[in-house]
């Protein structure tokens, strides 16, 4: 049995999912963070049930790919029942989706979430009346505090067992006549939906299904065309438009029937935006918040990093004494330890605090505010404000950054945002910047590299958007009310993201480190170094850095971890000049995304675009490193 969770962005759907699903979840306060669905097994009334968290969506009539995917998934046999999470404090808009879900022939329960919010807004909701009007169970809920969750799933389980699909609501008379007429041509053979709801979706212009009926009912498409034309002539608007308008009207009527609006209590949350979105103070606050954020993250990171690195260098020394680095076993073991150390000592101190901080900012609801403030700037590089999210996420890890581009509506924006966000130095690359430049040359130069990175991204953005001149539609973004994040959801989210790293990236890191140790043991590293020699030569770097660069494609931190080995275990500052350190670091910051990012790029944008972005990053890295090198020669 499988329950599907669906709701509009910011309805608290993911919070609910997190509450019941354990560690396997990702929540967001940001419109559509949950673009990939997440699944978890839960126990309801003594039965194991699969719970699927679907992307947040305002409707299913599909402008973006996530909506289409959701519609097709919900109508498939994989889903036995639907739990529709609705924000009680914005009932009229939320019920629009409910009306649409009633048409899917699947058992349905409405979870009326954020009841506390609704009460604060001075609303009284007549839940029994709403149940009667919708003819499905409606369960009040405060997901953030876990109130009503148990009741919801017990109800959902009962409804699923009954397997009694709800009745759809009826539209205006003229529309119903047309729907019946089209439905009369369908004999249920399509089996996706009942004839009437199927007719509605066809009238709305569901392309994939239209193609399907083309084969089964060759006489239907012309009738459909005529019906759509008729609606357009009589109503003055296109059919999909009229239908979605009808749904919204039904939802508004439902809401006004069941909601009694009382006095609204003005709270601190209404005041916060006066400062955080203020034309002057807003930016001051943004800089302060970001400064604090990174200060705390790296503060914690640097406190933890030194003792951890100490521990591992002792361990290496111990292994060296015990087995000797000149035996294959000794060299391999030291290689493995270095791989583990790379994960523990360099990435964890930074990644954990970063993800905790990001989860907090996300759940507070600050990310959309950043989008609001940064819209002007983002427009200059050919994007809109909400494309700032991939960039911010990129500072943690490029993988979620590329994934989050799925919330952007057109392909061009997605490509542009993905390409640019891979240039953002992720935690691993930041570790390289810190480990090399900040450590040996001081924080000022590390900061200069950050700034240089921003300039390069801006210039690349301008050039790319010049090459792809299509205009972005402009920002439309909901600013959700500020919420105090619950400890539980932030921890869950951090764990979930970390889990991905531990399971997928760390083994590669350890294996890579081992392979390198063996290569060096057999003196095979020279061959690989020759292979990338053209690049290292142009940049004025020693041939030995070739290998760390190659392994850096596996995981970025390898280009730091392995540099130590590749240079023969001496201090970086002895083997490389300051200029070389800077050149190397800048090249590492920009060149080829890591394997995991490449995999996501391929999934999100296709192989062709992945290759284009990869080549692009190499070109950018070469140019940027060369510029940095000459700047360093002049200025140092």
């Amino acid at each position: 049995m499988r329950f599907a969770l669906i709701g509009q962005p910011n309805s608290g759907k993911s919070t609910l999912f997190n509450h019941v699903a354990g560690y396997k979840a990702e929540t967001g306060n940001f419109a559509g963070t949950t673009v990939i669905y997440t699944e978890s097994k839960i126990l309801v009334s003594g039965e194991k049930v699969n719970l699927v968290d679907l992307p947040g969506t305002y409707s299913l009539s599909g402008m973006n790919p996530a909506e289409k995917v959701t519609l097709h998934y919900l109508t498939s046999n994989e889903v036995s029942m639907i739990i529709n999470v609705v924000d009680a404090s914005h009932l009229a808009q939320g019920l629009g989706l409910t009306v649409e879900l009633l048409e899917l022939n699947k058992p349905l329960v409405v979870a009326l979430n954020m009841m506390d919010e609704a009460i604060r807004e001075g609303m009284t909701i007549d839940i029994p009346l709403l149940q009667t009007l919708l003819s499905i169970p409606v369960v009040p809920l405060v997901a953030s505090k876990g109130r009503g969750v148990r009741n919801l799933f017990v109800t959902a389980h009962y409804v699923a067992k009954q397997d009694n699909p709800p009745k759809r609501l009826t539209y205006a008379k003229d529309l119903e006549e047309i729907i019946l007429e089209i439905a009369g041509n369908l004999d249920g053979k399509t089996a996706i939906l009942e004839p009437e709801p199927f007719a509605i979706k066809l009238l709305e212009g569901e392309i994939q299904w239209q193609d399907q009926i083309h084969e089964e009912y060759p006489q239907l498409p012309p009738k459909l065309k005529r019906a759509q034309l008729f609606i357009e002539q009589t109503r003055g608007q296109s059919a999909d438009w009229v239908i979605s308008g009808e749904r919204q009207a039904l939802a508004t009527n439902l809401a006004s029937a069941v909601v009694q609006q009382g006095e609204r209590r003005v709270s601190w949350r209404d005041r916060i935006d006066d400062i955080l979105l203020h034309p002057v103070f807003g930016y001051v606050a943004l800089v302060l918040i970001m400064f604090l954020f990174f200060e705390i993250v790296y503060g914690i990171g640097s406190i933890l990093e030194a003792p951890l690195l100490d521990f591992f260098s002792h361990l290496e020394g111990f292994l060296d004494n015990l087995l000797g680095a000149d035996t294959l076993l000794g060299a391999s073991l030291i290689g493995i330890v270095q791989g583990i150390a790379g994960g523990v000592a360099i990435v964890f101190p930074y990644l954990v605090p970063f993800l905790l901080g990001l989860g907090f900012l996300e759940d507070v609801g600050y990310l959309p505010r950043i989008a609001f403030l940064m819209d002007t700037l983002m427009k200059r590089i050919g994007l809109q404000g909400n494309a700032i999210v991939p960039f911010i996420l990129g500072y943690g890890c490029n993988v979620p950054a590329v994934m989050s581009t799925r919330t952007l509506e057109n392909r061009r924006d997605r490509f542009l945002a993905a390409a640019l966000s891979t240039l953002v130095p992720c935690a691993a690359r930041i570790a390289v910047v810190f480990g090399l430049v900040a450590f040996y040359l001081g924080p000022t130069i590390a900061l200069a590299i950050y700034f240089f990175n921003l300039v390069v991204i801006a210039i690349t953005g301008r050039i790319l958007s010049g090459l792809l001149p299509e205009k972005t539609p402009g920002l439309i973004l909901e600013m959700p009310v500020y919420r105090i994040p619950t400890f539980r959801t932030v921890i869950h989210k951090t764990w979930f993201r970390l889990h991905e790293f531990v399971v997928e990236a760390w083994p590669i890191l350890i294996a890579g480190s081992l392979v390198l140790a063996i290569l060096i043991f057999y003196n095979l590293d020279k061959i690989l170094n020759t292979f990338v020699r053209p690049i290292t030569w142009i940049l004025g770097l020693p041939a030995a850095v070739g290998l760390p660069l190659i392994f850096g494609i596996l995981r970025k931190e390898l280009s730091l971890v392995m540099l130590y080995q590749a240079l023969g275990g001496v201090e970086f500052s002895d083997a490389l000049t300051s200029v070389q350190l800077i050149t190397y670091t800048v090249f590492v910051v920009f060149y080829i995304p890591c394997l995991a990012t490449l995999a996501v790029l391929k999934r999100e944008l296709g192989t062709r675009n992945m290759v284009i972005i990869t080549l692009l990053t190499v070109v950018i890295a070469m140019i940027a490193a060369q510029i940095a090198r000459f700047l360093a020669i002049i200025l140092l």
Partner: protein
């Protein structure tokens, strides 16, 4: 007097009259609860050609200038 939402000063309340953009735009606005005939309040304009913050039915929505220019309103 009918005017563009973009030209409405902060703090003013307006009635949404017409959307001149594509259907997709109007659909998206509708999903966020911005429908013809609704009353909306312009909370603030972001500086330097940034977006507008609009409140409608208790929801706060940021609209880029390119969007706001396509929304015709009348002050109330």
């Amino acid at each position: 007097m009918v005017m563009r939402l973009l030209d409405v000063k902060s703090g003013k309340k307006v009635c949404l009259m017409d959307f001149q953009g594509s259907r997709g735009l109007e659909l998206k606005l509708r999903q966020l609860g911005l429908v013809r005939g609704d009353t909306a309040k312009v909370i603030r304009h972001a500086p330097l050609g940034g977006p507008l913050l609009v409140e409608c039915k208790g929801r706060r929505i940021a609209l880029g200038r390119g969007i706001a220019v396509k929304i015709l309103v009348e002050e109330v």
